[in-house]
Each structure stands twice: as structure tokens, then as C-alpha cells.
Symmetry: C2
Subunit: 242 residues, 2 copies
């Protein structure tokens, strides 16, 4: 069977998943394109796949074929997509491991995606998102992660609560400040750490900043006020992974 | 005088500068927002400023006031802009200094902007763009640089020609390859270098790759195929700036 009607209830439900509200209430989300669908399937999050009629796709979850008009409706990219995957969220609430990244209200989807991709590359165990961080299941975020979001423990939690828990576990909490702090190259004990990265415009909030044990900075030319937050975070994680 | 007509010839010319073709033929470009306008003025590229009526702006170039409808027409962002600057391109053709970055067909405006910002932070002397790289004067690129593009020598040049010139100057040319090469942490002589970064999807082209003296890689977890190109480039430049 091929679904050709935009009024089909299943299709209407998929389209609704473009809104955060509906993703939150159903605990489901969509990924687009072959690469993302295959990555997500490795982590058993994939429940069903929608494929454009006449196209073929080999995967071990139920496949539904749709017309190209229906595919255009359920996908969010301007470019041609032939596969969309329906997935279930992971819903972890636990801070696992000793290498922790805390994100304080990151707003740009590309930045969050890049940070998640770098976190997997540099062996972060858990990423903690503040409740006002851009939604992880936003299609632009998922695309920027290149599917890596499914290979790492990501939770949403109040950061004050999170830092309190991390301190009770004797994990050093590093803030980030351009003007004031210690060169990350001088950090020798990197066996466990928690790193806090702030919002693109405002940095780390005052309350969170005051809870950090120490600030880290990246040595750079005097011409520059700051780096892109995704870049800064990636360099810090790279240095802390030794 | 306040320009209120969208049919004003000066305004029509500004709007045309949203296209690369017109920027190329006039040698002019636009920057949007107070921060970018002020940064560009430090490098004497700013020729004239357009400000929304009733707003004030203090700068040492001619100011023209426009209605908010006209401002909406000449700016490319969805968010409110009150200042747009008309600038002249720098038009350098010379490879200056001994720390060189070559970009082989980078396509994403955000990636190019981020790379330029990081290049200033880590003291690159010249960035060489391949002719098919996304246009430097694209408004998204300029915004992502945070104005840093005006503080660094950026030229467009055929990369085969550029590498030939760099080799004649005895500058080591590093390619980038995830699977094959030397850990950037092991590079000890960083007094001069040329680093080639490739296109987001295809990496460095075969011809250019074959001209490189050595490949560099960033040590990372086996789970990851690659990093975002802006992140990878920034980490390599950070390591080469010691």
C-alpha cells in the first residue's frame, strides 16, 4: 500500500511531530535521510520508516511507502529526502559516567548539533541540557549531529540541581570565561570533569557561574573577543580528552 | 533627509548588493548591525552608513537616514536591524605571512564564518579560498565571522597555483584525512605551515590531496566518522598555534 493522501491520519500525525509540543506529548520524533535513519537504528530508537514510492530501502523495521507529495509534507528540508524515520525518545534522567558537559541555554540548532557530534568524538559520558536549551529533537539539531545524538546519554535537567549532584560526587565543575581563568592546556587531571558552556549571546548565567570551581579559557590572539560556542566547546573537550 | 521610497535609486543599488554578481561587478558589499559596522570601520572598509530614522548612530563616515520599510528592504535578516553599512572590498591577491589556511570549496556560510573567526583567534596570516568556495561577502558568512573577516588577509585563488607558490617558499602543506596521517599533537615545528581543509561532503579534492606533503588528523573516539569542518579546522589551527 502506498499512502498518497495528505489527509491520511498517520501522515497528519507525522507532520505534527514538526512541533516540539507534539514531540513532547507523544515522546516520538522524526529523522530525515538515509544516513540519520541508519545511525538511529543502531541505537534501537527507530520504530517505522517512510519511503518514497518506487524507492527501495532495506531495514529491519516496518516500512510504509508514500507518494512524493506526502514525503515533501512530512520532511522539513528544502532538498530532496526519500526516507523519514519515526523514532522513540530515549528518556534518560540519569547522570552517567565522569565526563559531563552542561549546556546553559544554547539556542542555535547548528551549535547544539555540532557540540553533540564533538562530545561523542571526545568521549563525553553525559550531556546535560538546561530546560531552555533549543530542543534536541528539532530537525536542524538532529541533522547537525550527523546522527551522533543516539550514541550518547543526553538528559534535560535544572543546572543548579545537576551541579549540586556533581559536587556530591566530587567532580570538578569548570566554567568558561574569556577574561578570567586557567589555560585549559594546564589542566593535568582529566580523569573526570564537568564543563559548563553558556548561551551564544550571554555566556554562562551568573548563578551557574558562581557554582563553578574554576574557569577555563583557550589561549588566543588579542584581536578576538571570543570563538563560536561550538568551536570553543569542542577545543575544550579535545584538550580534556588526554 | 530621510529616504522613504523603495524606488529610490540608491536603495535599489543597495538591494542589488544581496546578489554575488552585483557585489563582484561593483566591488562593494553590505554589513548589517551595529557590531559588524563598527568592526568593519576599524579596517577602513566602511564608506557609508544607513540608519533607521529616529535612531542615532555615531560614526565618522557619511550617514543616510531611511524609513523602517526601506531598512527592511535592504537588510537580509528576519530580526530587526537598525544599521546597515556600505563597504568596499579589500581585493588582496597576495599570500602574506607563513601561516596559511586553504579552503577547498567550503559551501556552508556558517562554517566559513566560523573558520574565519577561529583563524583570527589563532593567528593565521592568509586564508586562500578556492574559486568555488561560498562567497565571503554573503551576509550569513559575514555575520558568522562576527566582523573578524576585516582583520585578516583573505584571497581567492586556484589552489593548485597557491600550493605551487607555497612550496616554492618551502612551506609544508598539510592535508586533512580522517583515516590516514599524523596526529596533529605530534607536529613540533609550527613556525610556518599551510593547512588545507576540504568541502563538507567530499573533503579535499584528489588533485589537491596529492600535492600535500603530509596529512594531519585529530585523535578521536572510534564512534565518530568525522567532526564538523569548522570544528576540525579550529582544533588543527589551535594545535598549530604553539
Amino acid at each position: 500500500m502506498i499512502i498518497t493522501s495528505l489527509e491520511n491520519n498517520k501522515i497528519k500525525d507525522l507532520v505534527k511531530l514538526q512541533s516540539k509540543k507534539y514531540r513532547d506529548s507523544t515522546n516520538m520524533f522524526l529523522v530525515e535521510g538515509v544516513h540519520l535513519v541508519e545511525e538511529v537504528n543502531k541505537s534501537n530508537l527507530l520504530k517505522e520508516v517512510f519511503v518514497v514510492e518506487n524507492d527501495s530501502f532495506n531495514i529491519d523495521v516496518p516500512i510504509t511507502y508514500v507518494s512524493s507529495d506526502v514525503m515533501k509534507k512530512i520532511s522539513t528540508t528544502d532538498t530532496y529526502t526519500n526516507v523519514v524515520g519515526l523514532c522513540e525518545k530515549k528518556n534518560s534522567n540519569e547522570i552517567k559516567g565522569g565526563k559531563i558537559l552542561l549546556l546553559d541555554d544554547i539556542q542555535d540548532p547548528g551549535n547544539l548539533g555540532t557540540i553533540i557530534r564533538s562530545s561523542v568524538a571526545f568521549n563525553v559520558d553525559t550531556i546535560i541540557l538546561s530546560p531552555n536549551t533549543v530542543d534536541l529533537y528539532n530537525s536542524k539539531v538532529l541533522r547537525s549531529t550527523q546522527g551522533m545524538f543516539s550514541h550518547i546519554n543526553i538528559i534535560t535537567m535544572d543546572l543548579v540541581e545537576a551541579i549540586t549532584e556533581l559536587k556530591s560526587r566530587n567532580i570538578t565543575v569548570y566554567g568558561t570565561n574569556v577574561n578570567n581563568g586557567e589555560d585549559v592546556r594546564n589542566i593535568t587531571d582529566t580523569s573526570s570533569f564537568a564543563l559548563v558552556m553558556g548561551n551564544e549571546g550571554n555566556g554562562v548565567s551568573q548563578t551557574i557561574q558562581s557554582m563553578c570551581d574554576k574557569n577555563l579559557y583557550i589561549k588566543m590572539s588579542n584581536n578576538t573577543e571570543s570563538l563560536n560556542v561550538g568551536v570553543a566547546c569542542s577545543i575544550l573537550l579535545y584538550e580534556l580528552e588526554r
